[in-house]
């Protein structure tokens, strides 16, 4: 177990968490479809309760993604969060307002009224997905920052990482390629949400409208996703010289990474195929309800592959457009060997965590949600 292995292992875990997060954004996608699929109050209650049983998974994955990034690559944490202040604060705002909305929405005395909490869910549904997608896109397109660790000895101003754009990260929204990934994540979350509703809600009207939304959203998703992928694969990437660790621009770097890492290529292609299989089979077979699992697994695999492409194989995962040599790589931004080793031992518990999540998910979703359950009052939200 050498240092390089541990750095790669932790990049893999970060990537896996990121990939799971993108799948779990179906909760946000579902929120954005609240009024599109739910036409009556009862239907909306069914949708909210279907999502309300899972929203904490998404939230927890986001928090763990942040915590794991902090622990394994602290220079990213200090550079990106401390620099792209407004981008991250906007994302956090979208999630803060979500956290109370499920619990408070239908409770009497909630001060703001039901519609406000539903508006919060919409803000989270639209803003959370697009902004997260944009933030991740900067891993490929770069940002404007410098890192100088020697600054610590400047007693008057010892800050190591500096963001050079006055928009504090919001400038990422002005980049078309970033926006394309943001919109791809948004439409994807609506596809997975629709598939999730088909899977866990027993209601004809919701089922029919959800199937329609799968079709309506898969088209723009594919357009934005393919646009982003083709542009990224064809454009210049941020390569790292394996010996000098100097960062330089290299044409088609990410496509080269894909071709030179056959396992990642297989993962990416199988992910895309699985994603499409779940969608196509759902659209072709009116009684098919398990599309969310194929599409979900495909999302995880494809996103995982994208993260691996940008982090492994002598690549800078968080490039600086201002000062190439300030760019972050898994080598220059990681925690120490000892810390990564300790956390790797702790990470052995992850399969056990995954197992109990699976069991609990199954126990709660064994019986689909229906109108009768909502009318019985045996629901929370």
């Amino acid at each position: 177990m050498d240092y390089t292995f541990l750095q790669q292992y932790w990049w893999f875990l970060i990537s896996l968490l990121g990939a799971l997060l993108v799948f779990l954004l179906f909760v946000q996608g579902g929120q954005s479809l609240l009024y599109t699929i739910g036409k009556t109050e009862l239907e909306q209650t069914m949708l909210i309760n279907a999502l309300g049983r899972k929203w904490e998974f998404t939230f927890t994955t986001l928090v763990t993604f942040g915590g794991a990034f902090f622990a394994s690559f602290p220079l990213f944490y200090s550079t990106s969060f401390g620099g792209a202040y407004w981008l991250w604060m906007s994302i956090l705002f979208c999630f803060i307002v979500q956290a109370v909305s499920y619990e408070f929405r239908s409770k009497k005395g909630n001060v703001l009224g039901k519609k406000t909490y539903e508006a919060f869910l919409l803000i989270n549904g639209f803003g959370g997905t697009v902004l997260l997608g944009v933030a991740v896109a900067t891993f490929f397109t770069g940002s404007d920052f410098v890192v100088n660790k020697d600054s610590l000895t400047n007693l008057a101003d010892p800050v190591i990482s500096r963001w050079l754009n006055p928009l504090g990260g919001l400038e990422a929204l002005l980049n078309v390629r970033n926006l394309m990934l943001g919109l791809a994540v948004f439409f994807l979350s609506r596809v997975t949400a629709s598939l999730y509703f088909i899977n866990c809600i027993q209601d004809e009207a919701i089922n029919a409208r959800s199937r329609k939304q799968v079709f309506v959203n898969i088209v723009p998703f594919l357009a934005f996703f393919l646009g982003f992928v083709i542009w990224t694969f064809a454009g210049k990437g941020f390569a790292v010289h394996p010996e000098t660790q100097q960062v330089y621009r290299l044409p088609a770097k990410y496509f080269i990474n894909l071709l030179e890492m056959p396992a990642v290529l297989t993962l990416f292609l199988s992910g895309v195929l699985s994603l499409l299989y779940g969608v196509v089979r759902t659209l072709l077979k009116p009684d098919y309800r398990k599309g969310v699992w194929f599409t979900g697994a495909g999302v995880v695999a494809a996103v995982l592959a994208l993260f691996l492409i940008v982090g492994l194989h002598n690549t800078s995962y968080y490039p600086s457009n201002t000062d190439l040599q300030s760019s972050l790589t898994i080598c220059n931004s990681s925690s120490s060997f000892f810390t990564l080793k300790v956390m790797s031992i702790v990470s052995l518990i992850i399969p056990f965590v995954a197992l109990y999540i699976f069991q609990a998910w199954r126990a709660i979703n064994r019986k689909p949600i229906d109108q009768e359950e909502m009318r019985s009052g045996d629901h929370q939200y």
């Binding site: 904490e56 998974f57 928090v63 915590g67 620099g83 020697d150 008057a156 504090g168 609990a360």
Partner: protein
């Protein structure tokens, strides 16, 4: 040389304090109420009596309302280390980040998985599975607290690490020292058990309201019976671990202890201030103005509680500033203390040695780099003092720390008597007739929160100006962002969290008025 904007530091501190104080309004109730409703459901599981299920479901509804706001306020705390304290994130991220990641893996998923079963699983899973889920939700919340408190304890007593000048950061060398440091152990136990007091006070207070209204008397009495016992246990454990914490503070953060007690001149056989009124005219430690207008002391108690010796010398702020006394240092060894001026000199040497080390390394002069490294290592214990401009900056806000500490202690003693009295009268079926006590029990709910928040004010305001004790002052930890950005987010969070709090209290009151529903 561009200088750091100090208003940025103040606003960043204000934002962190705001979010931490709000977050801590919700966490202790989650921990305390979580334990109480887990015990209630266990009784239901064992006896099969539906009244216990009804009771559990009622308290669980209130738990859920509170939990949601705790989650909302919690996310910002974690990410704020990066957004507002980016220098800190790099300087100690190698140590501080690990507990946060472990917290996510071990605790957050446990909480978020089983809370769904707890709320939605009553008619979907077996009784045993449901009970296990309730306990695991409580356990997940408690484990979460453990890891964040380990991280906080490390900031108060940095150990199990070494500074690496190559990477310009502190790196972990001993995980067990970080996890099991005596500061961490005491802090974890003190904080978690004091949260039981908040949970118990909440249950007793709400139940007392039912008794005053002559509604749900059976549920209220049973809830009080259970909560008062757990509350009493919480107070006893919090007192014991508080004593342990104070002992740790005496050895590792003597300036904080001096501020907690308003002790300016040290002495042998120092008394503990039971009640005191500080003299507002006292502005500086060396202005020779009497620190107290009024003071009632317990003789020699501070010496004993600090060092287990009635005659031990407890240094005051003047002694800590000027040095020269013999005492126990942060590593538990007897030594003659050096002055703050001397610490500043050593700190500046350490910072300069780091700069020289980096220059030598860049020039490829390894032997010179080695010389500078030795100077750095020799003086590293005082590294943070190198950033201190005025020696008086190392004194925390004495009135804030003093009053927060004494508020916490006085309220802690109040709750000891309160829970015993409530339990006794309830046991004798006399509580319902004691209207004054039932009214006091309702007032005790906010008092429990004041007690709990005061503890955090002592811990955090008392350690200023350090974000990492002696190693990094707070202002050196801040991100390079515009002050106006932090002012805006401060305002945004202040409005948002206040609305959430108002909504939470409003919903809670409605739910309480509505009372428990029939079991179905």
């Amino acid at each position: 040389m561009e200088a750091l904007d100090y208003s940025l530091v103040d606003w960043s501190r204000a934002q962190f304090a705001l979010t931490a104080i709000y977050h801590w309004l919700f966490v202790p109730l989650t921990l305390g109420l979580g334990l109480i409703l887990s015990v209630m459901e266990t009784v239901y599981y064992k006896t099969g009596k539906t009244e216990w299920k009804r009771m559990t479901q009622f308290w669980m509804t209130l738990f859920g309302i509170n939990f949601a706001v705790g989650v909302a306020t919690g996310i910002i705390l974690e990410f704020q280390f990066g957004t507002n304290w980016s220098n800190y994130s790099w300087f100690v991220g190698d140590i501080f980040g690990a507990p946060l990641a472990i917290e996510g893996i071990l605790a957050f998923f446990m909480e978020s998985t089983f809370i769904a079963v707890m709320f939605f699983g009553w008619n979907k899973v077996s009784k045993g599975f449901h009970l296990a889920s309730t306990w695991l939700t409580f356990l997940g919340a408690s484990i979460s607290a453990v890891w964040i408190l380990v991280a906080n304890a490390w900031m108060q007593f940095p150990n199990g690490m070494t500074f690496n000048p190559e990477t310009v950061r502190n790196e972990m060398t001993d995980f067990w020292s970080v996890l099991f440091s005596p500061v961490a152990i005491n802090k974890i136990l003190h904080t978690v058990t004091s949260s039981w007091i908040v949970g118990a006070a909440f249950v007793v207070g709400v139940s007392s309201w039912f008794l005053l209204k002559k509604r749900e008397s059976e549920m209220a009495e049973k809830s009080i019976q259970l909560a008062s016992v757990l509350g009493f246990a919480g107070v006893i454990l919090a007192l014991l671990t508080g004593d342990g914490s104070a002992q740790q503070v005496a050895q590792r953060q003597p300036m904080k202890l001096a501020a907690m007690e308003g002790l300016y001149e040290g002495k042998h056989g120092a008394g503990l201030v039971a009640v005191g009124l500080l003299n507002p005219a006292k502005k500086n430690y060396d202005d020779r103005i009497a620190p107290f207008l009024l003071r009632i002391e317990i003789p020699r108690a501070l010496s004993y509680l600090s060092f287990r010796d009635f005659n031990a010398f407890v240094p005051g702020i003047s002694d800590l500033m000027d040095g020269g006394y013999t005492g126990i240092n942060a590593r538990g060894k007897q030594q003659t203390a050096i002055s703050v001026e001397e610490k500043r000199t050593r700190g500046q040497k350490a910072v300069q040695a780091l700069a020289d080390f980096k220059k030598a390394r860049k020039a490829g002069n390894d032997s010179l780099a080695s010389v500078h490294r030795t100077i750095l290592e020799t003086n590293y214990s005082y590294f943070g003092y190198g950033f201190i401009k005025d020696k008086k900056d190392v004194i925390p806000n004495v009135p804030l720390t003093f009053y927060a500490f004494h508020t916490m202690v006085i309220l802690g003693c109040f709750f000891l008597i309160f829970f015993v009295l409530i339990w006794y009268l309830n046991q004798k079926n006399k509580l319902s007739s004691q209207k004054w006590l039932l009214g006091l029990a309702i007032i005790a709910i906010p008092l429990a929160y004041i007690c709990s928040e005061s503890g955090w004010i002592v811990a955090e305001a008392g350690r200023q100006p350090w974000v990492i004790q002696d190693i990094m002052p707070t202002f050196a930890a801040v991100s390079s962002i515009q002050t106006s950005s932090v002012q805006t987010t401060f305002l945004l969070f202040a409005i948002l969290f206040t609305i959430m709090l108002v909504a939470e209290v409003s919903i809670m009151i409605r739910q309480i008025r509505k009372g428990p529903e029939n079991v179905h």
